[in-house]
Amino acid sequence: MATINLSINGNKYVVDADPKTPLLWVLRDKLNLSGTKYGCGIAQCGACTILLDGDAVRSCQLAVSVVENKKITTIEGLSENGDHPIQKAWLEYDVPQCGYCQAGQIMSAVSLLERNPKPTDEEIDSAMNGNLCRCGAYVRIKAAIKSASNSI
């Protein structure tokens, strides 16, 4: 057990945790930030994607000790009122089916557009390929990313 300082969505948290605990479980079990989802635990599905200093990373593979004092953004902190251009595009295209993968999809899309505001279809595919959607909402996800890209 160790005391770890975290900066999540602009808030400071102090948690007592085994330093090897993946950030995913600290978020979900200790901080009740359950927007970040568990899907596979082995970096294969993208459901647990968060932003670490602005880059999309899989929180199931990230020991909590490594992220101490880095800037963590989860789906809950993406925008004040759910009005990030990506979130708005997601609503406009009514993207979600079951919705379980969508937090991860959104975080990957945000990071993609930050790096590359006007991605081609191929660039979208390669940036998003690590995010599985079992419901198959891929066509709408891509349409929403393109729409957000035009509005940024």
Binding site: K30, Y38, Q44, L78, D94, Y100, N131
Partner: protein, 750 residues
């Protein structure tokens, strides 16, 4: 206008009024911090609610709250079902908020999802709920204004009396209406007057999903809650022998470890009580990570089980099912299925004289198809929350058929059903897997034993390797053509492990003079069950692929070939029990032909067509693909659907898009294989799923226009995708695909 007796509704509506005064909705909020209510943009929540029946209540300010009775798993019923109530109530959708109803079999009918039946079977009840309340509001206004209720009209949540010029919002009359006797009979709207049904309305939970609010069973949190996971036998055919938990118990955060038996050996199971491993080891601790680590420290001995029987009550039919012993492998399954081709099996339907016709044929085409077991792989792994005390059992989580689980839970906990409360959370995917609730039983038993609230979570590996899989299937088809290339005989012999997929009365039955349908099964100790479009997901995938080949042998266009057969079935059907409507079937083929520009082929674009009927709906699809270095790139999928009235067209389109992607994904990659009883895939690194880059570039969905009552949507759009893909791949590569998953036979995987 349709008049409809409200007798069933009346009883249940009255009952729920009594129940709900006791605060029916409160439990849920405490679990998922105020997420039961959907804050669609309504001006303001009312100060007071007046309940007119179990499905709806109206606030003094005119805001209407409608219950969504069924669990939501991505089919959008939580939006579409309340739309139907709102339509008959005659209110503006903007003034409606939606709440997820708890399990309450006294108040709601058929609270489950499966078989694409939610809208179809809810249709009348939901309309009646809206119409009854509207009638009570009219009565209330009539009494207040001293006029006849017949003279009162409504529009957008306002009551009007033309002659006196009086009007009042529903909110003003709600209190009086709540005291009106529930009418014996109500009039339903003319379909042509629908204002909400048939319009695209956004997912009522959309905002919560994109902002990461807790909606799923996995997200449940309760003060003092413990986390539990299971360890199950590593192979089918094995059971628990002994547990040494000394090291695991010493791990940080671990509270308890014990075995859980979700099903007693002699318990007469209900249909959806299928249970993968009846006895598992439960590890309970203060966090998921702690529990995951402790699981690795357990030393467990497993042993093969011997052949045994279980008894089952399948909707009134008493069955004794033999579970064979042994450690099964895919290789053995395949050879056993291949042997069935030449064995005497059960005849399910026979028309004319197929033997004779095959003897006289100018040309015979024979093909055998196989498809593997499939894991559902819902994105949200199986999980459930339980808090069981001697006084009551509180459960919450994602489940497709809560009402079919209650009885078994009561028996297992030794508690009357009245003390059990099952709350429904949003499902992170269902696809049939969440029809089976052994994880709910496990959660309840664990909570009962540790005397604390518990959230049980399956790891992805547990979820995938303790599946209630889609059965493995095989079918051999034979077709006989005469000199003029007419189809004179058709023979299908289909079976599976452990169930037969045969639908003997489906097309082309009824369109061919000489027809034979036979079936067989092979017993197994692998647990199997419903998977999106059960049985049809195989039959639709292979029969439509075979017909493509027969059309080609007959030198006919594949759409034209099917239309000719359907024409025959319409004008002069063979046999009596054909379970499809040839006119509607032909309708979707014609629609897809037109919308896909079938008659204007493009060089370099390879197209395949398929059409299938299941779950009361008709679907035809055309897939266009190109090859990029031998790798198929799906350019476009054009889909035509006849599911009667479409309640929420954009939501239905979304669901069809998902089913098509799912169909393509499973056709290309889907497979669970076994070696010595061990599932060979346990997570997404070895169970290949369709990903962004493999999805179609575009999908367009077109609906047949009619005013028939709505039928299934989530399942019938799935099977045709597999066969349309097989047929398009053939056009591209010249190779027919008989064995799923196709990717195993496509040379380069990109």
């Amino acid at each position: 206008m349709t008049s409809i007796k409200t007798s069933l509704g009346r009883r249940s509506f009255l009952k729920v009024s009594v129940l709900s005064s006791g605060g029916l909705m409160l439990g849920f909020n405490s679990l998922l911090s105020c997420t039961a209510k959907t804050e669609k943009e309504v001006q303001a929540l009312p100060k007071e609610w007046f309940e007119l029946n179990g499905y709806l209540k109206i606030g003094e300010n005119g805001v209407v709250s409608i219950m969504s009775p069924n669990p939501e798993g991505g089919q959008n019923v939580k939006t579409s079902m309340p739309m139907i109530v709102a339509e008959e109530l005659d209110v503006a959708w903007e003034n409606v908020i939606v709440e997820q109803a708890p399990l309450n079999t006294a108040a709601f009918s058929r609270q489950f999802i499966g078989g694409s039946q939610a809208i179809r079977q809810g249709w009348k009840t939901l309309r009646m709920a809206g119409a009854t309340a509207r009638q009570m509001l009219r009565e209330a206004a009539a009494q207040t204004w001293q006029v006849s209720a017949e003279e009162i009209t409504t529009a957008g949540g306002v009551l009007y009396h033309k002659n006196s010029g009086k009007s009042a919002g529903y909110g003003e009359m709600a209190s009086a209406a709540a005291k009106i006797e529930v009418p014996e009979e109500v009039k339903l709207k003319d379909k042509k007057d629908f204002k909400i049904i048939g319009t695209s309305q956004k997912n009522v939970d959309g905002k919560k999903i994109v902002t990461g609010k807790p909606l799923f069973g996995m997200d449940i949190y309760r003060e003092g809650m413990l986390y539990a996971m299971i360890v199950h036998p590593p192979a089918f055919g094995m059971k628990l022998k002994s547990v040494d938990d000394t090291a695991a118990r010493a791990m940080p955060g671990i509270k308890d470890i014990f075995t859980v038996k979700s099903m007693e050996d002699d318990y007469e199971r209900l249909f959806f009580d299928t249970c993968t491993f009846p006895e598992v080891v439960a590890v309970i601790g203060t966090g998921t990570w702690e529990v995951m680590n402790a699981k690795k420290e357990l030393k467990i001995e497993w042993e093969p089980f011997s052949e045994h029987t279980i008894s089952r009550d399948a909707f009134g039919q008493k069955q004794t099912i033999t579970i064979p012993s042994g450690l099964e492998s895919t290789a053995t399954h395949l050879s056993k299925m291949a042997e069935m081709k030449d064995k005497q099996v059960t005849v399910a339907r026979k028309d004319g004289n197929p033997e004779e016709a095959f003897k006289n044929a100018a040309q015979i085409i024979e093909r055998t198809y196989t498809a593997p077991f499939l894991a559902h792989n819902c994105m949200e792994p199986m999980n459930f929350f339980a808090h069981v005390t001697p006084e009551k059992a509180e459960l919450a989580g994602p489940l497709q058929k809560p009402e079919l689980t209650e009885k078994t839970l009561a028996a297992r906990l030794g508690m009357p059903v009245e003390k059990i409360d099952i709350q429904m959370t949003r499902l992170g995917g269902g696809f049939g897997r969440r029809s089976y609730a052994h994880f709910l039983l496990e959660a309840a038993l664990i909570s009962q034993k540790v005397e604390a609230p518990v959230k049980l979570i399956y790891s992805r590996e547990d979820d995938m390797t303790s599946g209630i899989y889609r059965p493995a299937y095989s079918a051999t088809y034979r077709a006989a053509l005469d000199e003029q290339n007419n189809l004179i005989a058709f023979h299908v012999k289909a079976g599976g492990i452990p169930e037969s997929p045969l639908e003997e009365n489906r097309f082309p039955a009824g369109a061919v003079d000489n027809y034979l349908a036979e079936e067989w099964t092979i017993n197994s100790n692998l647990t199997t069950g419903s998977f999106r479009a059960p049985r049809s997901n195989f039959m639709g995938a292979v029969e439509q692929s075979f017909l493509d080949e027969v059309a080609e042998a007959a030198g006919k266009d594949p759409i034209e070939f099917r239309l000719e057969l359907l024409d025959r079935a319409a004008k002069n059907p063979v046999g009596e029990n054909n379970d499809y409507d040839p006119g509607r079937y032909a309708g979707v083929l014609q629609l897809v032909r037109e919308k896909s520009d079938w008659n204007s082929p493009v060089t370099g674009v390879h197209r395949g067509v398929s059409a299938y009927f299941c779950h009361n709906s008709y679907v035809a699809q055309v897939i266009d693909l190109t090859l990029e270095k031998d790798k198929p790139v799906i350019e476009r999928v054009c889909c035509a659907v006849d599911c009667g009235i479409v309640v929420n067209p954009d939501a239905a389109t979304n669901l069809a898009e998902g089913a098509i992607v799912d169909g393509i994904g499973n056709a290309l990659f889907g497979a669970m294989t076994f070696k010595e009883g061990v599932p060979e895939k346990n997570n997404f690194h070895n169970y290949r799923m369709i990903r962004h880059g493999e999805a179609p570039k575009s999908i367009d969905v077109h609906f047949a226009q009619n005013d028939l009552d709505p039928t299934g949507m989530g399942e019938p759009t799935f099977p045709p995708a597999l066969s349309a893909l097989a047929n398009a791949l053939y056009k591209a590569s010249g190779k027919r695909y008989y064995h799923q998953p196709f990717m195993a036979e496509i040379p380069s995987e990109g």
